[in-house]
């Protein structure tokens, strides 16, 4: 690589890193506890009950949740992927921002209400909001997505510079005994190149995750409208409501072998005024991440449409585990956390190296500024 090319790539690496490092640091620091959200988050205690027994009525849980919060409605049901529990949110309207939901949690085997903290309160919630949208909604999420793209540029330019900067060194060399900057430069290069693939994948899938809102909008505007138009609801659908137990039975019969993960009641952004949308997942590691929507007539529970999600939504679903690291048990989460700490060191050492270089440039400037004084002295001598 020519010296000019190295200078240009150095400029790209310096500026892209400077723009995004503070946000990348925030994302790495807030992401650290989020890796363990299942262990650290709300974790209701379950009774020992035979798993083979009949399930309790979900409709009864919905009625109970509404009775606890008079005047409020239940927009969604969220079933847990691993535990026999369902989260029942209540809100003033069907379109209320999920950040304001009040959650009640029930054991799906017994129907018993479980004691739990609200998932939208506390330390983990603050970490999640700082990580996902800086408490600024969709705008904050898209801004962080932009910073993620700049971070990808910083990573690529860092890889390009790894070549000329380590040409004369054996792999893994960390020179000690010289200047502190040189030792930190070697550590920055070593940690950066070793964690490259992991950091690249996590940064890129993070950027894809920030597109969740536009992807949801595209799905609502195209697929949901098309599914609903396949079978216009009966005249009674707007007044009469079938029990959610009937809807779930119809959906499970129509789509066997899949698990219900989310229910969107009529009037929410993920259903229509006269349809219930039920989102299902498969049982394998990959299919358990990909949602399949089924639309049912709200008055009869009859399933009117089932279809796979479009490619852009599937891309989003597949990028989520690769960003969260929650798909390989606790050891994978510990490895994820250690790799995260290594990238925090890469970011901090990068900042330190820039600051040290800045100090060096300033001291050189001072030398240049002193030079006229020296020439004045020479003039006086003459």
């Amino acid at each position: 690589m020519t010296p000019r090319a190295v200078r240009n790539w150095s400029r790209i690496h310096r500026w892209s890193s400077l723009i995004c490092t503070i946000f990348a640091l925030l994302l790495c620091l807030t992401g650290l506890p989020l890796i363990f959200h299942e262990e650290l988050g709300p974790n209701p205690k379950l009774d020992d009950v035979s798993a083979d027994g009949p399930s309790a009525s979900i409709e009864a849980m919905v009625r109970r949740a509404m009775a606890e919060r008079p005047g409020h409605v239940v927009p969604y049901l969220f079933f847990d992927r691993d535990k026999p529990i369902v989260k029942v949110p209540t809100a003033p309207t069907m379109t209320t921002d999920p950040a304001s939901f009040h959650y009640q949690v029930f054991d799906t085997r017994t129907g018993k209400a479980l004691e739990t903290t609200q998932p939208n309160e506390g330390f983990m919630y603050i970490m999640l909001r700082l990580h996902a949208d800086l408490f600024a909604g969709v705008k904050g999420t898209l801004f962080l997505g932009g910073m993620g793209l700049v971070l990808v540029v910083a990573i690529i330019s860092g890889v390009v510079l790894y070549g000329p900067f380590t040409r004369r060194l054996d792999f893994g060399t960390v020179r000690r005994g010289g200047s502190r900057q040189r030792t930190w430069l070697d550590l920055h290069n070593l940690l950066g190149i070793v964690t490259l693939a992991w950091f690249g994948v996590v940064a890129f899938t993070g950027v894809i995750n920030t597109l969740a809102a536009p992807i949801e909008l595209a799905w609502q505007a195209n697929q949901l409208v098309e599914m609903a138009s396949q079978a216009p609801p009966s005249a009674a659908a707007k007044e009469k409501r079938a029990s959610i137990d009937i809807v779930l039975r119809e959906v499970r019969t129509a789509v066997p072998g899949m698990n219900v993960t989310t229910v969107a009641f009529p009037g929410t952004p993920f259903s229509t005024d006269s349809h219930v949308a039920v989102f299902l997942t498969g049982n394998t590691p990959i299919t358990s991440r990909i949602l399949k929507p089924a639309l049912a007539d709200a008055s009869t529970g009859q399933v009117v449409a089932v279809r796979d999600m479009p490619w852009y939504a599937t891309t989003l679903f597949m990028s989520q585990p690769l960003h969260f690291g929650d798909y390989g048990g606790l050891p994978l989460k510990v490895i994820w956390a250690l790799l995260d700490i290594a990238t925090i060191i890469v970011l901090c050492s990068g900042l330190y190296l820039w600051w040290a270089k800045l100090r060096f440039w300033r001291s050189e400037d001072e030398v240049v500024q002193r030079q006229p004084a020296t020439s004045d002295l020479i003039a006086i001598d003459k």
Partner: protein, 56 residues
Amino acid sequence: MILRTVWRQWRWPVALAVLTVFGLLTALVGEGGVWWVMSWIALAIPLLVIAWATAK
């Protein structure tokens, strides 16, 4: 000569990147058990390399 320099400089970074991608996909595609263990080993190796390089 150039090829030898490139090989000397890039064989470890490339091997670690391939190992990382293998580890990331193994746990995602495989169904628990031995697949998870393979993923843990593959992703732990870059961390062990960092430990080795900083300790030597």
